[in-house]
Symmetry: C2
Subunit: 206 residues, 2 copies
DNA sequence: ATTATAAGCTAATTAGAATTAGCCGTCAAG
DNA sequence: CTTGACGGCTAATTCTAATTAGCTTATAAT
């Protein structure tokens, strides 16, 4: 990774831990292993570093299509997989999804940074909203909707069912971001949540 | 309200909008209608203002016992009320609870501030966790648990049922904090969530 | 070989914000 | 009435952190 990217990388780490205003260009430079003024050979100023992070993130998200989605592939494929799954493998899938978003380094740091900075400007609030609300709900809604039309799940209100699927995941993710030592506990709740979700909306009741 | 409290009040407003580091003591003073150096007649320094806000909040929470609880009264009383309610009045109750936490000035500003500052130090993370996770889940869990033992609701896993009740409320609250103009939309989802929750766990299925 | 460019460094400079010094008026207690 | 605490003000002061200036080296293209 070249210096220019190292800067973004280290800056993101620091911003996600302390927030933009509490990170000094000096801190960033130190981590990268250069002196602060050298940063200016790569970026116009501190703000430009922040902006570049947002830009990079936007392009990553473009490729990715959906953030908190099931497999990262297209929903039709996901639904096909899901259809033939039993409860246990569904839980495994949910858990590995959760763990991916919890541990994937980039995703995680970016999420924490956005959490801190979301109130700074309207645009960031909107990015957050897209990433952790619109996109997961719409993608997962599509997926779960397919499963409903295939009779795997039963409901007359897919969006709310999707909310019931996703909201606990979101909540548990925020818990782990803030107190990583609760991960085990959160995973246990996640598992029970998925099991219960399956029982409520799944084949059994149908 | 005397100057000392006005300072806390205005500081909280500013901190909740921009975060501690982006607020200058000058901004606070201006809002209060005094000059910056005069602040130091009341508080040792900027950090002391922040600390005083946390302290005040802690004492408010002491009185309050539970944050995102049902009526703010004791759970036994709440459960008694809830038992004799129909779906519509339950939804009304849920909505007014949600709106209280969404609009109550102090609660709202404090929540936003904590959201921004939660990663600064371990202690704040813990306060956040208590307020928006432990307390609501334990209080509401007690309440819903009573309803289960009275046969109003049916489940074999009260904590998860509680998570299913609360997580969507929490998610919708964070949506409105970040984009207040979506309040209407969020309220509609809230209502559907409560209706669906009632159908899933409530009398009908029982 | 020469030169332009990229990327680093040290040493200022600038700018912004927190805090301190020190003065003044008010008012309540003695 | 007078004194001391309270709370306010203006004018420094200090600190910190971002940024700029200007020098140096390495390398790649001409």
């Amino acid at each position: 990774m070249d210096t220019k990217h190292r800067i973004l990388d280290e800056a993101l780490t620091l911003f996600s831990e302390k927030g933009y205003a509490n990170v000094f260009v000096n801190d960033i430079a130190e981590r990268v292993g250069i002196k602060a003024p050298s940063l200016y050979k790569h970026y116009k100023n501190k703000q430009a570093i922040f902006d570049a992070i947002i830009d990079e993130m936007n392009s990553r998200f473009m490729e990715q299509a959906g953030s908190l989605n099931i497999s990262g592939m297209d929903p039709t494929a996901d639904a096909a997989i899901y259809k033939n799954m039993n409860e246990d493998s569904m839980i495994e899938l949910g858990k590995s999804l959760f763990l991916y978003y919890l541990h994937d380094d980039y995703t995680k740091r970016f999420r924490k940074m956005l959490t801190i900075e979301q109130f700074h400007d309207k645009e960031l609030a909107h990015v957050y909203q897209q990433q952790y609300f619109e996109m997961p709900l719409s993608y997962q809604g599509m997926l779960l909707g397919l499963m409903v039309s295939q009779g795997v799940l039963v409901t007359d209100n897919v969006p709310i069912m999707t909310l019931h699927f996703y909201a606990p995941i979101y909540l548990l993710l925020t818990v782990c971001d803030r107190e990583p030592e609760r991960e085990k506990e959160a995973l246990k709740m996640l598992e029970e949540h998925l099991r219960q979700f399956d029982r409520i909306y799944g084949r059994t009741i149908a």
